[in-house]
């Protein structure tokens, strides 16, 4: 999927994460987390895996994590990506790349 315009999803509330995606070259990830020392690597892995599954090759991704579970991070990344190419309104590939 191609990131066409900036979009974000999620909140800064506890147990959530705010994910912003913008057009970019290659994957450029900037992560802030309240549990960086404990789970920083795991969060990074989840974000990158989700982007790969959605076939996003070029994006500037900012994640501000407030202790979100993996499933939440996944959902926020998916939502931000879909919003960035206006696919959130329809054509969501339930059961396809979204699983």
């Amino acid at each position: 999927m191609e990131i066409r315009k900036p979009a974000s999803a999620g909140t800064l509330e506890s147990s959530d994460a705010m994910v912003t995606v913008e057009p970019g070259t290659g994957i450029e990830l900037s992560l802030t987390s309240s549990v960086m020392n404990q789970y920083g690597r795991q969060i990074k892995k989840t974000v990158l895996e989700t982007l790969e599954r959605l076939d996003v090759k070029d994006a500037k991704v900012t994640v501000v994590d407030k202790g979100a579970l993996d499933c939440t991070i996944k959902a926020r990344v998916e939502c931000a990506v879909f919003r960035s190419c206006d696919k959130s309104e329809n054509n969501i590939d339930w059961g396809g790349v979204i699983r």
């Binding site: 900036p6 979009a7 974000s8 800064l12 509330e13 506890s14 705010m18 900037s30 802030t32 309240s34």
Partner: protein
């Protein structure tokens, strides 16, 4: 509890915003273009935050509700609003004591005036990327005196030209920074273009945009500082801290400013610069201002006033050909109309 936008016309809610700010020792900033608040079940305001352009400001959380994550909700709301506006690169000016809350929310400190002010942005490498873009734009690393000038050029006059020429004669390279912020009737793009046109014949002058890092005095958020003078000094100190970083990147050894006989504010700014810069190995050189043949001081505010009063010809001797012909061209018509519509064109 719920969070909602507060219209500036909603006087009941705005009174609550002012009261809440007052309880935490703040006042409502004069420059806001969006305000939101969190209300409890009884419609009492318990947290608030506002925005102006790409800056977030005027945050307060009811002391009885601190530790409930209300600031997070407020920032989330404001960031979403800014995303809808297309603003992803955001800035916060706050007390150093509050900076940690913003650091937890994805903001990174750019510069600090100890004890008074921390300036943050939500890009980890925002300022360092800006510095890189500056050194890529040329002129860096050469031997000899390298000068810098920062100006509004609102609009570009012969006074600016004189300052630049003087610096250019004495230095190998002059880095000329034009404030990028859009405010007032003359758009930033026009200010920048008139500067570029006006110095095109000076080969050793490199024109830069300040980007979002140096902002105009007019929109500097000083609502958390006690007095007008403190606000001015603090802004000057913050500018100095940012400028020193820029100077290091470009090898700048002297900062040239125009002598200011009339405006106390600018004189104070120059004072702070000349006190602070030498500690960083940068000289501060104050250059005498240029007068017209009939001994009037050339100033951009005089020019704006003349345009406002519809007598551009009376200041023709203050303007270089490039600026003058722009304001006589049809392209300037909407800008002139905007200047004429302002009630006060002197104080920006």
């Amino acid at each position: 509890m719920y969070i909602t936008q507060i219209s500036p016309r909603d006087s009941r809610a705005m009174k609550q915003v002012e009261a809440l700010l007052a309880r935490t020792g703040l006042t409502l900033d004069g420059h806001l273009d969006y305000t939101c608040g969190v209300f409890d079940e009884d419609e009492n305001l318990v947290a608030t935050g506002s925005a102006f352009g790409v800056t977030l400001r005027c945050f307060a959380v009811d002391p009885d509700h601190q530790g409930e994550g209300l600031l997070n909700q407020v920032i989330t709301h404001l960031v979403e609003m800014q995303t809808r506006r297309g603003n992803l690169h955001l800035f916060v000016y706050t007390k150093p004591a509050s900076a940690k809350f913003f650091r937890d929310l994805g903001f990174y400190p750019i510069a600090e005036v100890p004890g008074l002010l921390t300036f943050l942005e939500n890009r980890r490498t925002g300022f360092s990327d800006y510095l890189k873009s500056l050194s890529a734009s040329g002129g860096a690393g050469e031997a000899g005196e390298t000068a810098a000038i920062v100006m509004n050029a609102n609009p570009f006059t012969l006074g600016h030209r004189w300052l630049i020429e003087t610096a250019a004669r004495e230095s190998r390279t002059v880095h000329l920074f034009v404030l990028s912020e859009d405010y007032g009737p003359i758009p930033a793009s026009v200010r920048l273009r008139l500067v570029r046109d006006g110095v095109a014949d000076l080969p050793n002058v490199v024109v830069h945009e300040t980007g979002p890092y140096l902002i105009s005095r007019a929109t500097f958020p000083g609502y958390f500082l006690k007095s007008e003078e403190k606000i001015l000094r603090t802004q000057a100190q913050l500018d100095t801290a940012l400028f020193v970083q820029i100077a290091k990147t470009l090898g700048i050894t002297v900062r040239c400013v125009g002598h200011e006989p009339h405006s106390l504010v600018t004189a104070l700014y120059n004072d702070v610069l000349s006190e602070a810069l030498p500690a960083h190995g940068i000289r501060c050189r104050i250059i005498r201002r240029l007068h017209t043949a009939d001994d009037r001081v050339i100033s951009a505010s005089t020019v704006r006033q003349a345009i406002h009063d519809g007598c551009l010809d009376s200041v023709a001797d203050m303007l270089p050909e490039t600026t003058l012909s722009f304001f006589r061209s049809p392209e300037a018509t909407p800008i002139i109309a905007a200047i004429r519509a302002e009630s006060d064109v002197v104080h920006y």
